[in-house]
Structure formats: structure tokens, C-alpha cells
Amino acid sequence: MTTSYPTTTVWAVVLAIGVLTFAIRFSFLALFGSGSAGGRSGAGETVSPRIRAVLRYVPPAVLAALVFPAIVTIEPTVIETLSNDRLLAGAIAAAVAWRTESVIATITVGMGALWALQFLL
């Protein structure tokens, strides 16, 4: 799939995300001045516990919301849904990711499995 947004819109998106991401990165570094109080040693103690609790679940929730729809497509029957190339290859890759926690191993095995399944099925 390719985007149908004009070049200027894509650039606006790039710049907006860039500026906002920098603001997030700079936030607490900028706030902590050399004269300011708060010499406690705790890492990240300046973020309230409630926000920290929410931030803890952002990575698994967002990553899963990106991964699942890319490998699971709901078909009319359960058999058709489960026998999808990408779902099977994704399941094999998930096992590799779990055992190795390696990006390169996950990509290699996942792509290999996809090509093998496309060739066989």
C-alpha cells in the first residue's frame, strides 16, 4: 500500500512528530536545573506513580495493536482464519522471539517461514 497524501502533508506529519518527540525527550532534562532542589537519587521519581503505571503498559499494548492486525485476518471460517500464511509464519516467529529475544533471528526465521509456506501451500 502506498500513501495518497501529498508531499507537503507527509512533511508536515514528519515535522510534527519530530517536534513533539523532541519535546518529550527534553521535558525532564530541561526542568532539572543546576540550582533546583530535588537531589534524591531515585531514577524516574519525578514522574508521578500514576503516570508511570500507565506508561508501563504502553509498549505491550501499542506493539500488540500493531502486530495482531498485520498477521491475523478474520476469514469466514475458523479453518481459513487459522491457515493463513502470515498467521502461521507469525506464530513461528513469535516462538523464536520468545526464545532468543533477537530482532535479527525473528526476522530471518519469520521471513523464511513465510516463503516456505507460500511455496508449500
Binding site: 518527540t21 537519587s41 524516574g44 521519581e45 508511570r52 505491550p60 506493539l63 500488540a64 509464519a89
Partner: protein, 232 residues
């Protein structure tokens, strides 16, 4: 002050991580070609944003013509975790000038944060090693990552234009996310967050403006918080 030593230590410590970063960057370059971005726009994302997961999600949503606010909001949510890194690193760099801190902030990534905090150890009262040394270790790690990320992006752009669609290289994108997702589900509440977020995103995939991703992510976060408070 021991600039060269700390800088060199940082570079040495980050070398093994390139094994994970290089394929990630190359996948981003390939996916950018697939999504119809120009080479300049792809490099623009890598330079201005410099945060892999949000860059890939941005491509994915742009390719599906998701509403612009949804694209920006999704990327920002993915990068919110850096609030914690910023807060956690702030005390170590307190005495630096604002401009120096802005430079450090620009280069902030998961890897730069994790390696640096591990290297510095807990903040002591006396602070034996100076802030300058800390800065050079951080820059050794973070700037190396930046250079490798940019080179990997360009390599992916070159590769992406030469690979036929039939190879299904777009599948590498969910595979990268999968490789990041599995270690992120490290206990019961984070696993609940992941499973709920993923299932809801599949069900909500047909929503307009491509809101399915944000709906899934939101439900996942709430489910994680509920699981944390629920009976063990």
C-alpha cells in the same frame, strides 16, 4: 576529565546492539519505499524523529491513509515512554547548560538510556565521576546509534527499490514489532495489556480513520492497569 576514554567505552559498549539495530533500520528503509515516501522523507523521519517503532507505525498509517491527527497521536503515544527516560537521566546531567541538555535529549533512545544508566550506577552524594565524563559516555553510545540508524535507513531505501513485491518484505515490519513485543510482555499485567490490545485492534481494524490501532492500544493499557489491581 577523561573524554576519550569514556567516549570510547560508550562506543565499545554499544557495538553488540548494532546486531538488532541494523536490521530494524533496514526494514524501516524498505517499508518507507513500500509506503510511497520519497528518500528525503524517509531520511527526514530518521533524522527528525529518530525513534524506530514510532517511525514504522507512522509509515504503516500513512500507507493506509489514516487521518493525520491519528498518525501524529499514535507516534507520540509510542514515544511517551521517553518521558521516563528523560526524568531518570535528568539528575545525572543536572549541572549541564540548557543547550548541552537539548543535544543529549535529541539523541535519547531506549538503548542510550539503558546503557548509560547501567554504566553510571546510582547517583551518589559525592558524585565521584564528573558530569563531563558521563556526557561523553552517553554521546559515545547515542551518536553511534544515530549514525548506524541513518546508514541503515539509506541501505533499506536502496534495497527496497530493488525488491519485487512478491517477496512479501512488508511482512518484516510486524516481525520487528513482534520481536519487541515478546520481551515487553514480561509479567501477567503486561501480557494482559498485550493480548487485549492486540485482540481489540483486530476486531476494530475496520474502524474509520484507522482508529483501530489507538482503540486497541487504549483498551490494552486499561486492561493492564486492571490486571495489576485485580486479585493475584
Amino acid at each position: 576529565m577523561n573524554v576519550p576514554t569514556e567516549l570510547r567505552t560508550g562506543v565499545r559498549d554499544v557495538l553488540p546492539l548494532f546486531l538488532g539495530i541494523v536490521p530494524f533500520a533496514v526494514v524501516f528503509g524498505v517499508a518507507a519505499v513500500d509506503a510511497g515516501l520519497s528518500a528525503a522523507q524517509a531520511v527526514g523521519l530518521s533524522v527528525f524523529v529518530f525513534a524506530g517503532a514510532s517511525q514504522l507505525a507512522t509509515l504503516d498509517l500513512l500507507a493506509r491513509d489514516a487521518a493525520v491527527p491519528v498518525v501524529v497521536l499514535t507516534a507520540v503515544v509510542i514515544n511517551l515512554r521517553m518521558l521516563m527516560y528523560s526524568a531518570s537521566l535528568a539528575p545525572y546531567f543536572r549541572s549541564l547548560a540548557g543547550r548541552s541538555k537539548a543535544v543529549l535529549a535529541y539523541f535519547l533512545t531506549d538503548q542510550a538510556y539503558a546503557l548509560s544508566v547501567a554504566h553510571y550506577g546510582p547517583l551518589g552524594e559525592a558524585e565521584p565521576s564528573g558530569v563531563s565524563d558521563r556526557r561523553w559516555y552517553y554521546l559515545g553510545v547515542a551518536v553511534s546509534l544515530w549514525v548506524v540508524w541513518q546508514l541503515g535507513t539509506v541501505a533499506g531505501l536502496v534495497l527496497g527499490t530493488g525488491v519485487p513485491d512478491g517477496w512479501g518484505l512488508d511482512f518484516t515490519v510486524p516481525l520487528v514489532f513482534l520481536a519487541l513485543l515478546v520481551p515487553a510482555m514480561k509479567d501477567v499485567p503486561t501480557t494482559v495489556a498485550g493480548v487485549c490490545g492486540g485482540v481489540v485492534a483486530v476486531v476494530a481494524a475496520g474502524l474509520p480513520l484507522n482508529l483501530g490501532l489507538l482503540v486497541g492500544a487504549t483498551v490494552g493499557i486499561v486492561a493492564g492497569l486492571l490486571a495489576e489491581r485485580g486479585p493475584r
